[in-house]
């Protein structure tokens, strides 16, 4: 994948945002950014597209609704219809609460599962590679160095001008 990365560290999010914007304007390829909290506006600065995960939620939710309605109808009206208080076997309104709960359950579990799969979060034995202090109090911007006309010195200069406190090369992406 990436042959190496140039990582610029920042003490605050403003420097990171500025560097991300300027790097993009200068035509540099941003590999990723690493931050201790969700920095608002960074997605736009890095030119990320909105996530498509809401579609997974919709899909899982609809599956839950349909599955729950089908199952309640099947158990109550097909498999073994039992007369409860003279109500019709397929007493649709009474099936709404369970269908609603099941919708929420599948939607929530499906969304989180999709997130974990999409971003590769999973329990692992070894520790992941984490850039120093990015889960505590530093922000990092990782630039790809494999471009044809990539100029390391110029890129480092751009980051320093934006407020980077440290710029270093990293062999392998975290």
């Amino acid at each position: 994948m990436t042959s190496g990365l140039l990582v610029a560290y920042f003490e605050d999010e403003n420097g990171l945002l500025r560097a991300a914007r300027e790097a993009r304007a200068a035509g540099l390829k941003i590999h990723d950014a690493y931050t201790p909290y969700a920095v608002h506006g960074l997605d736009a600065a890095m030119g990320q597209r909105p996530s498509r995960l809401p579609w997974v939620t919709l899909l899982c939710g609809l599956t839950g609704t349909l599955l729950a309605f089908w199952f309640q109808r099947w158990t109550s009206a097909v498999s073994w219809p039992i007369n409860v208080g003279g109500k019709p076997a397929h007493s649709f309104p009474a099936f709404i609460p369970v269908a609603f709960e099941f919708t929420v359950l599948l939607a929530a579990l499906g969304t989180v599962a999709a997130l974990f799969i999409r971003v590769g979060l999973r329990p692992r034995v070894g520790l992941p590679r984490v850039l120093p202090r990015v889960t505590n109090d530093r922000f990092a911007l990782a630039l790809c160095t494999d471009g044809e006309d990539f100029n390391g010195a110029a890129a480092a200069e751009l980051c320093r001008n934006a407020g980077a406190c440290e710029v270093s090369a990293v062999e392998e992406a975290p």
Binding site: D12, P36, Y37, H40, Q48, S76, E101, V119
Partner: protein, 483 residues
């Protein structure tokens, strides 16, 4: 700290100067030091209470629920009261974590983690009561629709009690997932500062989180989606609990206002419990600058509103009892207020309608000790609300020949004590093993009113000629003008 879109009108949410690393150290400190004597004592008391409860539960299961004070007229009483009470407590956690998130109420950041933990523990306590009440809890799995050799005989999907099974279990699962997802960035923070075994454990729990923006982008999306799913869910849970009563034909239960009335009551009691826990926590941990008086004040305002809804519901019930012209309905409510359980009714009214009105006074709602006392009274009141609704409606039904009185036995009291023991044991453990405040979210709001503070500091420096504020790290010093 962002350069954009932060109004100067925003008040700081962290009222002491803190750097990001400072926040991390501060929130992780309780997990990294030895427990204090106070904590140890509290934990011992909680475990003893839990042990008493476990003993009472095993006694109930061995002898049967005849050891309770129930009779053929009052078939639901203490146990179901406790169930509804605990489910209600849980609602505030989800309200803070999901509904306030959707409404962009940033002040939720320092209380949401603990409030969600409270939700989980409260729902665990709640879930135990119906299972104990079954008398034969080892057959609890009969509540689930699974293929069986009896036909298959399916569960009755028209029964609100079954809806409850689905509502409570979904609520628990979704709350747990929501909580865990919210914990992920902080688990990674803890992992990266821990050593040895702890580092390995948190390494597994953090699922390899490395702070990547690619992850953050999707994470934020998913968090928003979960909040949007949890919001209707939490409203549905107490709605369905209220339907356990409202779908019956019993005067005092058979009212369509029950769902909103129960949901408001749940949020009301839940916030009282959150306040109780938060006031004690901020005092013991010295986190007055993270869980500020403003947080407490905001929560008391929620209590005023929901308490008002509850009061209105009490009034509406009485009005309808008279206006409906139904003699059974009218009798139930007369009996409720002036019958043999009148004392319980008036405890309920004074604690739930009277007490919250004191929060209109600014002095009261900005004094943590006053809030603590009033919150405890509200919790007592809300427990009695459930007791009044359940017992007074049942004990004098249509046939005077079947009228009866109910009093709890010591066993039932011990089970209630045990549920508090379970709740506090879990909560105290939580304060030791996980970050109690969302570190990542609090860092995100450190910059609020930064410019305002800088301007104030500059003005002060100009006037007094004192040394320049700020210094190392981020310019996140907070003004102390509020406090």
């Amino acid at each position: 700290m962002s350069e954009h879109a932060l109004s100067d009108l925003r008040e700081p949410l962290v009222t002491e100067p803190r750097t990001m690393a400072g926040i991390t150290d501060e929130v992780c400190a309780p997990m990294e030091r030895r427990p204090s004597i106070l904590w140890t004592l509290a934990f011992l008391v909680a475990v003893v209470a839990l042990a008493i409860g476990v003993w009472a539960v095993q006694h109930t299961i061995r002898k049967g629920i005849g050891v309770w004070g129930l009779n053929k007229t009052v078939g639901w009483a203490f146990d179901i009261t406790n169930f509804v009470f605990w489910v209600g407590i849980g609602h505030a956690g989800t309200l803070i974590s999901a509904i306030l998130f959707l409404f962009r109420q940033k002040w939720r950041t320092s209380v949401n983690r603990a409030a969600e933990a409270m939700t989980l523990f409260a729902v665990m306590c709640a879930g135990l009561f119906p299972i104990i009440h079954m008398g034969r809890p080892w057959l609890g799995f009969w509540m689930l629709p699974y293929p069986n050799t009896r036909g298959s005989l399916w569960v009755n999907f028209r029964s609100p009690l079954l809806w409850d099974v689905f509502a409570i279990s979904t609520y628990f699962i979704v709350s747990a997932v929501f909580w865990y997802v919210g914990l992920l960035p902080d688990l990674a923070t803890v992992r990266d500062r821990a050593k040895g075994l702890k580092r390995r454990i948190f390494g597994v729990l953090a699922l390899g989180w490395n702070g990547s923006q690619k992850t953050w982008l999707r994470y934020e999306t998913v968090y928003l989606l979960l909040a949007a799913l949890a919001t209707p869910l939490v409203l549905s849970v107490h709605t369905i609990v209220s339907m356990d009563f409202a779908t019956s034909v019993l005067p005092g239960w058979h009212t369509p206002i029950f769902p909103p009335y129960f949901v408001a009551g749940a949020v009301f009691s839940g916030f009282a419990m959150v306040l109780t826990l938060m006031i004690i926590t901020r005092k013991i941990m010295r986190w007055e600058h993270l869980i500020t008086v403003r947080h407490l004040e905001n929560m008391t305002k929620v209590i005023i509103v929901t308490g008002g809804i509850v009061g209105l519901a009490y009034g509406t019930e009485f009005f309808m009892a008279w206006y409906s012209g139904n003699m059974y309905e009218a009798f139930t409510f007369k009996n409720r207020a002036f019958g043999p359980y009148g004392w319980a009714y008036w405890i309920m009214v004074s604690c739930n309608v009277g007490v919250p009105q004191l929060f209109w006074i600014k002095k009261v709602r900005t004094s943590p000790w006053m809030i603590l006392i009033l919150a405890l009274l509200i919790n007592v009141g809300m427990w009695f609300e459930r007791f009044v609704i359940i017992v007074t409606s049942l004990h004098r039904d249509f046939l005077p020949s079947s009228w009866a009185m109910y009093a709890p036995t010591l066993i039932e009291l011990a089970i209630l004590l045990g549920s508090f023991g379970l709740f506090f044991t879990l909560f105290l453990l939580f304060t030791r093993v996980l970050p109690m405040i969302s570190i990542a979210e609090v860092k995100g709001v450190l910059g609020f009113a930064a410019r305002k503070r800088e301007a104030a500091a500059a003005a002060k420096a100009k006037a007094g000629g004192s040394s320049a504020p700020g210094g190392v790290g981020l310019p996140i010093a907070a003004s102390k003008e509020r406090s």
